[in-house]
């Protein structure tokens, strides 16, 4: 893995450099991530025996067959719907904010970035509970709307698709803003200026110069939002309701209430497969839509 590409001195030095830089992390992930994951892959071929213990006596793929049950399709659909909405919203909100910080933040850039991260230094659960206080029927938003006379009955905001998407967007927005900021901040402004001269409109310059140049940041931000959103089960659990279970919630239930680790592992691996497929699909459509290739 770390052998040099070319047998030159330069190549050998690079090989050594790569070994020093990359090897510790790779070894760590191999031992504490890949190897345990392989154990779970083996367990996913097993079953639970009558004494409630996992048995590998008769390894088979039954758990994967069961995981593909049509009953789970709505949950799969919801997972994808929530993640896509969360990603779109996070990028839609995060891009202008990252742009604003980078271009107009001046000497306060770092402070503004710190402020983006600051809420995330308190517990996620506490913040989610605060959202419950804001969204519930007698909550801040409903009280305000009632007082102002916009509504006569409290709106049901909590335990809905809306509250789940809002909670996820809230949770993943900073993870979108940081990489977007990094890529916008290193943008060469003379290029944008040239684009303005060329296209004679801010919009044209943005679409043809700024956006393509910041595409790596957009992709990174999108992935950092989409992927964890697909696996998130705490937000749908806490802010969602009876009709908002995602496939991650189902995996959770199989593991915990069902105590069926083999079946839970199989569905978990299936979720990973969907995530990888979704990631590739998202990458491709992003590229073709925005870059036009």
């Amino acid at each position: 893995m770390t052998t040099a590409v070319a047998p030159s001195d330069e190549g050998r030095r690079r090989g050594l450099g790569a070994a020093i830089l990359v090897l510790p992390g790779v070894v760590w992930l191999g031992v504490f991530f890949l190897f345990p994951l392989a154990l779970i892959a083996v367990i996913s071929l097993g079953a639970v025996d009558p004494s409630s213990h996992i048995t590998l006596a008769n390894p088979n793929l039954d758990n994967y067959g069961n995981a593909l049950r049509t009953e789970y399709l709505p949950a799969f659909g919801r997972s994808i719907y929530y993640s896509v909405m969360t990603t779109v919203l996070s990028l839609g909100i995060g891009y202008p904010v990252a742009y604003w910080i980078s271009r107009y933040g001046g000497r306060r850039k770092i402070l503004l970035l710190i402020l983006v991260m600051l809420p995330f230094w308190t517990s996620y659960l506490i913040r989610t509970y605060a959202w419950m206080i804001i969204l519930r029927d007698n909550g801040v938003v409903n009280s305000l709307l009632l007082q102002l006379g916009f509504i006569s009955e409290p709106l049901r905001l909590l335990n809905t698709d809306l509250s789940v998407i809002l909670g996820m967007t809230y949770g993943f927005l900073p993870f979108a803003i940081l990489p977007l900021y990094v890529s916008i901040d290193r943008l060469d402004h003379s290029l944008v200026q040239a684009g303005r001269d060329l296209y004679a409109s801010g919009r044209g310059a943005f679409l043809h110069v700024t956006l393509p140049l910041t595409m790596p940041g957009l992709i990174a931000a999108g992935l950092l939002t989409f992927i964890p959103a697909l696996g998130d089960y705490v937000t749908p659990d806490v802010l969602g309701g009876a009709q908002t279970n995602t496939i991650a919630n189902i995996v959770q239930t199989i593991f915990l209430s069902g105590r069926d680790w083999p079946a839970g592992s199989a569905l978990g691996f299936l979720l990973m497969a969907v995530t990888i497929a979704g990631t590739l699909l998202a990458l491709r459509s992003l590229r073709s839509e925005v870059i036009g290739t």
């Binding site: 309701g241 009876a242 105590r259």
Partner: protein
């Protein structure tokens, strides 16, 4: 001289080494009984699956000589307890000052760990097959069948828990664990539902109210497969412990019918109900007390439905791998003390099985037939049974299909 006082005396001598202690005990002739206990205690570190001797040491005046002269009638010789105790329980699922009082009394440092949910607790206890390094935990009694057959729990040495006498006769030999050999009951509860009388008029009695379309979007069910299945089973006249496929299909159909009416399957029903998000919620009896603490009794009513319902309890266990089994016995004994048990109940709202605590529990708990139902009412309630993996799977598959 009570057991507790004798123990304090022992603790005053905590700087004794075990050998010194043993030598003195031997010198006074009580060694036979004590050695067994001390050996069991000593072994527990290296071979934790060893079960302590169950023969009670002969009570008598012999131990009096060990302690100070004013101890004249110590009933039981007492082994040296360890200096630490590891407890695994819900956060706040115990009297507000119980831990402090225990530490103060015995000089034992308590490490009180929490888990996220019951599944987290069970996975912790079973991860190494002998309790995950804890001395005490509080599983639901339904787990006892599996824990005993897996060798996960240590036999309780009744001679170290004189307060067992405080257990009411009904709890001296519960069905899940005859003679409390491996566990001691802690809290018990009934399942029912609570509603807001300002929003829903009248005296509700039937499980069908949780299926009432008039309350659409204003209903919570517990996020608990067995409790939800039981609520449907009682309406259909089926057993909440059924393993018949046709029964379970009927139960699933009943729950599918209810799902569109629900706001959520939740474990956060107390906050959600008192916060005004729903008007009626499936809950346990202790939850209702929490609701009253929050919102006042005029805003909540609770009923054990007329079709029948569930009763359940949790237990204190000492896992087979417990590193501090003597301290664990002391903890159980301490929590069976009338006053401590009453403090626990008054704080959490769940009734305990403790007769000595009854006069000390707030009367609005003991005198309320819904929180403390008369014996004939209790006898009609059903306990959830432990399900074999294949049967549990039948429940889980349907539960998942319902939730997805």
């Amino acid at each position: 001289m009570t057991f507790d006082q004798a123990l304090n005396e022992q603790l005053a001598r905590a700087h004794w080494t075990r050998r010194e202690f043993l030598a003195r005990v031997a010198a006074f002739g009580a060694a036979a009984a004590l050695t067994q206990l001390l050996v069991a205690c000593g072994q527990s570190g290296s071979s934790p699956s060893s079960v302590p001797a169950t023969t009670a040491p002969t009570p008598g005046g012999t131990t009096a000589a060990v302690a100070t002269p004013e101890i004249t009638a110590a009933p039981t010789p007492v082994p040296t307890p360890e200096k630490e105790l590891y407890v695994l329980n819900w956060d706040g699922y115990i009297g507000e000052h119980t831990i402090d009082k225990f530490q103060e009394k015995y000089g034992i440092t308590v490490t009180y760990d929490n888990f996220v949910d019951e599944a987290g607790q069970i996975s912790k206890l079973t991860s190494d097959g002998k309790g995950g390094g804890y001395d005490i935990s509080y599983p639901a009694s339904t787990w006892m069948a599996q824990f005993v057959s897996d060798g996960l729990v240590r036999q309780i040495d009744h001679s170290l828990i004189p307060n067992l006498k405080n257990l009411s006769p009904a709890w001296q030999s519960p069905g899940y664990d005859p003679n409390n050999q491996y566990s001691v009951p802690n809290f018990w509860w009934t399942t029912g539902y609570a509603w807001n009388p300002k929003k829903i008029k009248g005296d509700l009695t039937s499980w069908a109210e949780l299926w009432n379309p008039a309350y659409k979007g204003r209903i919570y069910m517990l996020d608990d497969v067995r409790e939800c299945f039981a609520a449907a089973a009682f309406q259909l006249g089926l057993s909440p412990n059924t393993t018949s496929t046709t029964d379970l299909d009927a139960i699933l159909a009943k729950l599918e019918e209810q799902k569109p009416l629900l706001r959520d399957y939740t474990t956060d029903h107390v906050a959600g109900f008192t916060g005004g998000d729903v008007d009626i919620t499936h809950c346990w009896s202790g939850d209702w007390v929490q609701m009253i603490y929050t919102d006042g009794s005029e805003n909540t009513k609770y009923v054990i439905p007329s079709e029948g319902s569930i009763k359940g309890n949790d237990v204190m266990i000492i896992p087979s791998g417990a590193p501090h089994p003597i301290a664990a016995h002391l903890w159980i004994d301490f929590n069976l003390d009338g006053q401590i048990s009453a403090d626990n109940t008054n704080y959490i709202g769940y009734m305990g099985p403790n007769d000595a605590a009854l006069p000390l529990i707030d009367t609005y708990i003991t005198e309320d037939p819904r929180l403390n139902p008369p014996a004939e009412e209790l006898a009609k309630l059903i306990e959830l049974q432990y399900l074999q993996p294949a049967d549990l799977d039948q429940y889980t598959q349907r539960w998942l299909a319902l939730k997805a």
